[in-house]
Symmetry: C2
Subunit: 345 residues, 2 copies
């Protein structure tokens, strides 16, 4: 099953890892947010792309949500001695990635091609694609004024409230041939439990990308999403607080509302703790599957991935039925978390 | 005594260290070759400037002639895993220097200002100045064709014979205000035992720099040089082989001939093993001092520095006498290596 997963950093990387575990090599394409990108110490850093790459390569630092496991910090230590800013921490091996990227991009190689090269060198079996090759920079208007995303996110530890979000450069961004081909070949589209405002929204804002998704859905390709806000709390990062300060529901319902508004959603996966939101989400249009969504280890990543693909496959079948006559396929059951097997198989 | 030292990498750095040891803080300015500079992994690397900085900061790796003592190699190891070229080795802490430089230069800060910042952060008490702020790249025509200097020097280990040398960009290079001020304030000019062809020649080729030196010499400022070729062998690097393949004497006499031709030399310091060349050098014009020139430790660096400044001071006195009436000052004696005290004091 050829799957395109839209992803930001940590949550996106975890679900991508789950998908990679259960799909055949090459079946997964992860389209990753680049609005978080920054230039620092002259390096082109693409934090979400790298988190996905490192996670799929099995070398990601397991707890902090960025970087490579077992890193050393010699470069950073010396930069500090030289009086340079060090609020955005970069490990030594991580810096090699940025040097590789920066050097090639300066020579005119597209970010997509660089990412494909990095994935190959790191032994990643899936396709990892930046959402676009053009520079897009997420900026947030906060109670401290307009800030670059990483200033808000890392330097100020997400303390100021976000009042407005802009994706600078998005009007000049284009869908890459690689993203277009992946969406045209997709048999399911998966929206990872990433921040809907600053991880998923920039991807959807690339001109032409939603149209490709709409075309795919018209072909009957199901789109399935999951919330990174569970029980009203973001699993990681400031998504809940951002939703709130932007005047949206800081719940899985708020997340679903965004995806439905973007015309993105056939099925939405809710965590069991959010079961009471199921009716409200269903009222927006999508089917709802309730299951365990929190990915604490490799097994739970694969389990959520299986749930989502199972729901997508079922939904795809429903839509095929709809197109051919109208009979409904049986609704998917939640997987049994004890065995990792879908009950519906 | 305000001293300007023209220097390349290792030999230049050692003599600069000797000069720094015996001068008051701030009295020494080292004008360093930048023809060896390169861009690699997107980093602006200035090998001779860094060798001088690290040596004067007391953090230079003591044997290999480049880099920082006790380096780690995490970035390079990961770059190798990513399939990047690694023939030009960069340690982790060294990379911090290059990131610092690259970042600032991309923002429009002049290499001179960056070098002054680096020197301050590293606690260097002397002024270290790139020979120019404009990019100059030494290229060598060899039996393998035209090569960038570092390709010849590092990647091909100086194996091909050098048939021609060019300093690309030199016609657009200018003397920086800082180098000009240092030369105008100088009380002695010292030419370090660096490669005369690819370390000292690029400095002298910066348009306007020789004219500044000539003006200083007209003021009576003595210029004293020393050979990095001793007993017909380069102390380090390919200077002897380059002199030979370029059809010059691969001896201290050949080195002296170059400096005399450039109008650079009042006094030339010969190693004791080259004593038989003294008459031939003297026949070219400069006075000659014979002493131990090989710098094996901090003490011998200071000793050579003392010799050279002593010879310069004496020559300056002679020239002052010449200007005022004509009586000769007593000729300098070689320092006593046992005590490090000049016999002439």
């Amino acid at each position: 099953m050829r799957v395109v997963c839209l992803a930001g950093g940590v949550g996106g990387a975890k679900l991508a890892d789950g998908l990679q575990q259960i799909l055949a090599p090459g079946e997964l394409t992860v389209v990753v947010n680049t609005g978080d990108d920054l230039e620092i110490h002259s390096l082109a850093v693409s934090p979400d792309v790298d988190t996905v790459l490192y996670t799929l390569a099995g070398i990601a630092e397991p707890t902090q949500g960025w970087g490579i496991a077992g890193e050393s910090w010699q470069v950073m230590g010396q930069l500090a001695r030289l009086g340079d800013e060090t609020w955005f921490r970069l490990g030594d091996r991580d810096i090699a990635t940025h040097l590789f990227r920066t050097d090639r991009q300066r020579r005119g190689v597209r970010p997509t091609e660089v990412t494909i090269e990095l994935a190959r060198s790191l032994g990643v079996q899936s396709r990892v694609l930046p959402m676009t090759d053009e520079p897009v920079r997420t900026r947030v208007r906060t109670t401290d004024g307009w800030l670059d995303f990483q200033e808000y996110f890392v330097r100020l530890r997400q303390e100021p409230s976000v009042l407005e979000v802009r994706f600078e450069g998005i009007e000049n961004a284009t869908v890459t041939p690689e993203v277009r081909d992946a969406l045209r070949a997709a048999e399911a589209i998966v929206v990872a439990p990433s921040n809907p405002i600053v991880s998923i929204a920039p991807i959807l804002a690339v001109p032409g990308l939603l149209a490709e998704i709409a075309t795919a859905r018209q072909r009957g390709v199901p789109a399935v999403g999951v919330s990174g806000i569970v029980g009203g709390k973001a699993l990681r990062g400031p998504a809940d607080r951002m939703m709130e300060s932007l005047g949206e529901d800081s719940t899985a319902l708020g997340v679903a509302r965004r995806y439905v508004a973007a015309g993105l959603l056939d099925v939405f996966v809710l965590d069991r703790v959010d079961e009471e939101l199921a009716a409200a989400v269903r009222a927006l249009g999508p089917e709802v599957v309730v299951t365990d969504t929190i990915m604490t280890d490799a097994g739970s990543r694969a389990l959520l991935a299986r749930e989502m693909l199972s729901a997508a496959a079922w939904q795809g079948a429903v839509r095929a039925e709809d197109r051919h006559a109208g009979g409904a396929a049986p609704r998917p059951q939640a997987a049994d978390p004890a065995t990792g097997e879908e009950a519906s198989r």
